[in-house]
């Protein structure tokens, strides 16, 4: 009976240890996530690099060495503007990434910043894709496309 009691006691201690460890690891994950978010926020305000075009902003250094802008076009569609960016993955593996368009007015203020979502994009190895956007309003003067790893 004494052995069973000791066994049960040990079991409860082990369980409690697992409980504490689990919570610790979860909180570690949470803090990692918040660190990641913080670094992502930092990336958003200060892009790692601006690639060959003023229209194209890459957040990740690793992506910047694989993604190339073949051409960018901005043309009128009535009094709205239309933007187009042709990008190429020059890596031998496919890239999973996200992109988001942003339009700016004459004062370089983003128009309706929350209206355009990050869009998932899979670029096959050596693949070429054309990303297109239309200005939300006639007051939009230029655009940027932001790219980050998924």
């Amino acid at each position: 009976m004494n052995i069973i009691g000791k066994g049960l006691k040990l079991g409860v201690f082990v369980f409690a240890a697992i409980l504490v460890t689990a919570c610790q690891s979860l909180s570690t994950i949470d803090s990692d996530v918040s660190k990641e978010n913080a670094s992502q926020d930092a990336k958003e305000t200060t892009p790692v690099s601006v690639s060959k075009s003023d229209h194209f902003v890459v957040y990740d250094t690793s992506l910047n060495s694989k993604l190339f802008v073949n051409r960018t076009v901005m043309r009128p569609a009535g009094d709205l503007s239309q933007g187009m960016v042709e990008i190429q993955n020059r890596d031998f593996t496919s890239l999973k990434m996200e992109y988001r368009f942003a339009w700016y007015d004459v004062d370089d203020v983003e128009i309706e910043p929350d209206s355009r979502a990050w869009q998932p994009l899979v670029m096959p190895a050596n693949g070429i894709k054309t990303l297109k956007t239309t200005a939300p309003r006639p007051t939009a003067k230029h655009f940027k496309v932001f790219v980050r790893e998924d």
Partner: protein, 195 residues
């Protein structure tokens, strides 16, 4: 008995103690489940509005005036429960804010009629300042569409393909002035451990 109670207490703590809530970015890609989600809604609305506003005949029509549009509900032909009214709302918000079209809201006809009736017949509103019946502007265009899906499963892999089609019809002539579609493919592979 004491150890069983302690065990129960510990497991309750385990289940409730580690939960956390935090705000996220509404524009970030969401892949919580394979079902139609916020990212699908946002990219569908964005693609449709960009396409509509840059289509040459529509550019021509909206160059000098703001035609009135009526948005019909989007038919959900998929097997999934999807709030298509939310997609319609996102699209009409973007189109309206572009300044290219004006809208009539058919969901509020009964309320508007009640208000006009009140202004005309209640005796409470100054006759000179009351809004008149029969002066509404009829819609020139109707925007409508449907959403369909194909779901396939093979072993631990689930593949969902969504196709969202949208059309703009000139109501008087019945001519389709614009049409476009957005395709979305999502694949879920179930791992041996976890979800």
């Amino acid at each position: 008995m004491k150890y069983v109670l302690m065990g129960l207490l510990a497991s309750t703590l385990l289940m409730t103690g580690c939960a956390s809530v935090q705000y996220g970015d509404a524009t970030a890609t969401e892949t919580t489940t394979i079902d139609f989600g916020s990212t699908d809604l946002q990219i569908t609305a964005e693609k449709m509005v960009d396409s509509l506003l840059s289509f040459p005949p529509i550019v021509q029509v909206t160059a000098t005036r703001r035609p009135v549009m009526f948005v019909d509900t989007i038919k959900n032909k998929s097997m999934e429960h999807i709030d298509t009214e939310s997609i319609t709302d996102s699209i009409s918000t973007k189109v309206l804010r572009s300044g290219k079209f004006r809208f009539v809201d058919m969901t509020k006809v009964a309320e508007v009629r009640k208000q006009l009736d009140y202004q005309a017949n209640s005796g409470m509103v100054n006759e000179n300042k009351a809004m008149q019946m029969g002066r509404q502007v009829g819609a020139e265009y109707m925007l409508y569409g449907n959403l369909s899906s194909i779901v396939k499963r093979a072993g631990s892999t689930k593949d969902v393909y969504y196709k969202f089609t949208m059309k703009l019809m000139h109501i008087e002539s019945g001519v389709l002035e614009w049409q476009d579609e957005k395709e979305i493919r999502k694949v879920k592979k179930k791992s041996l451990f976890g979800g």
